[in-house]
């Protein structure tokens, strides 16, 4: 009998996340003759995203639909998944390395008594079995790891694997029984302040426009936001900008903060401290805009502009707008 692989999918603002299709792609890459793939979608009001997911799955889509699962709660999600794990006994569970995946994966690994490989950026099948590449020190080094036990959990960094393509015949959607209502929950979500609705998530963004101390104030981020909007990207920041109080720590990119690997990274007024470079130097194209021609960021940038970001960034916004409108 083959392996049973479980892909845990996610929604954001009611839509299926791209990283879930990337996790599904990883499952197809690892799939051997006789293996089975189950995609699980937790949340509430899942009709549309479940249908979208089913269009990419050869096998089964299980929905865990419950009001208590609308917003991620460590306890409610664990409760919902533990029965599923006990019934389905997956050999391998794959998740996105997102806020949800990062918290749910170790819980599932503990339940399954499984090894876990986190934040995987590439995978390959070799004579030694499946090898997973992941960063150490936020990307200052990399390692290849494999699972040695009978069961494993793997989380995949957004934006690093291609998404799974559509399948000829969509999977059957099977709602799982209600495993949440029977147990009173200890943790209660009292309040949610959505600051990111409609915005592109930083770790999933194809374009990141990032500001450093050179941005000088919270208002200084405005031109960066305008550029990001034109490119449908997200705004990030260096530790310097966060420490100076120009922006929220949620935007920080670096060894402390988030690691991003977009198609295009535009560093504005960022000098390029080693701890920042760790968080962004795996981006495909890097552009640096800085007043100081000696700034270390220029040493790793594909294109550099020595100049005042407040002058250059609006010009770039205008130029991108024109070019995109001509396409």
């Amino acid at each position: 009998m083959g392996k049973r692989m479980m892909v845990v999918a996610e929604t954001k603002d009611g839509k299926l996340r791209q990283v879930s299709l990337e996790a599904l792609h990883a499952a197809y890459t690892l799939k051997e003759e006789g293996d089975e793939i189950i995609a699980v979608l937790p949340g509430h009001g899942l009709d549309a995203p479940a249908r979208e997911l089913a269009g990419h799955v050869e096998g089964r889509v299980i929905t865990l639909d419950h009001p208590d699962l609308k917003t991620y709660s460590a306890e409610a999600y664990y409760l919902a998944f533990s029965r599923l794990l006990d019934e389905d006994q997956p050999d391998l569970v794959l998740l996105g390395h997102t806020a949800v995946g990062r918290d749910l994966a170790p819980q599932l690994a503990a339940r399954l008594d499984a090894g876990q490989i986190s934040d995987v950026t590439a995978l390959e099948i070799t004579d030694e079995g499946a090898l997973f590449t992941r960063p150490l020190f936020a990307g200052k080094a990399f390692e290849k790891k494999r699972l040695t036990g009978s069961r494993g959990v793997v989380t995949l960094r957004p934006n690093n694997l291609p998404p799974a393509g559509p399948v000829a015949s969509p999977a059957e959607i099977v709602p799982a029984g209600d495993t949440v209502s029977g147990t009173p929950l200890q943790t209660v979500i009292r309040d949610i302040v959505r600051k990111t609705t409609g915005k592109v998530d930083l770790t999933e963004a194809k374009v990141v426009v990032s500001g450093g101390r050179g941005v000088k104030s919270a208002d200084g981020f405005k031109p960066l936001e305008e550029l990001a909007e034109v490119l449908q990207g997200a705004v990030g920041a260096s530790r310097g900008a966060c420490d100076a109080g120009y922006c929220d720590y949620a935007l920080q990119i670096g060894q402390t903060g988030k690691v991003v690997t977009p198609e295009l990274y535009i560093a504005c007024g960022i000098s390029g401290a080693i701890q920042h470079l760790a968080g962004m130097s795996q981006s495909r194209i890097i552009i640096a805009i800085n007043k100081d021609p000696e700034a270390p960021i220029f040493k790793i940038a594909d294109y550099g502009i020595v100049g005042d970001l407040f002058e250059v960034v609006p010009l770039l916004t205008r130029e991108f707008k024109q070019t995109l409108s001509r396409q």
């Binding site: 460590a74 990062r102 020190f137 943790t187 600051k195 130097s281 040493k299 005042d308 250059v312 770039l316």
Partner: protein, 255 residues
Amino acid sequence: MDLYVILKQTFDTEEKITIEGGEIREDGVKHIINPYDEYAVEEAIRLKERHGGTVTAVSVGPERAAEALRTALAMGADEAVLISDDGIRTDESGVAALLAAYFRDRRFDFILGGYFSVDNGAGQVAVRLARLLGIPHVSAIVKLDVSGDRAVAVRDAEGDSETVELPLPALFTAQQGLNEPRYPSLPGIMKAKKKPFQRLEPGDLGVSAADLAPKTERTLLFAPPKRQAGRMLEGTPNEQAVELVSLLKTEAKFM
């Protein structure tokens, strides 16, 4: 209140990484408390200052990790415990198992840790520990309050804020922005030398080498591909902007 912090010693984030003979070079490297764990230490001390109690800092690591624990004592923790992993091959599941064995028969109200470590970055140990102990947890907190036997935490969920209420005992992991960790004071450093410091071996906790057997294994360690400096654009700001967008399209195949 019985407050515990689980912490890891890591390389300073300003350190470069050098690979030698398939291992990461440690010679001459400056070590620090993992920055996320440092927020946890600070938060535990603040909870003690507001509500009374004791703070115990616990680390699983090699002998050098004693220095990170001493820093925690100098900041204001009351006791330290170093569970030695010298000469043991294990991974996150094993570290969580060691900590679970330490906490199993112990009374505690809070366990605080970091959201992830800046070295390995796997973010597994604290959450696994909560599950092994069967206690509720909240990850990536940016605010923490206590009232009676309940805690209210605000967590960061990819930029959104969620306020969560839960009963104690519970485990929390610290996100950036939770607090501003204090520097150890000179009297703090002097006092730290007299504070209780316990050293434990896995055997003392009834944990065998078999219990710690790793479930994952590294097959290769390598440096990332080096990036070359690219092209500096010339001309007026307007000319630079026009050229850059054009190069992105034609040369870099973006858009």
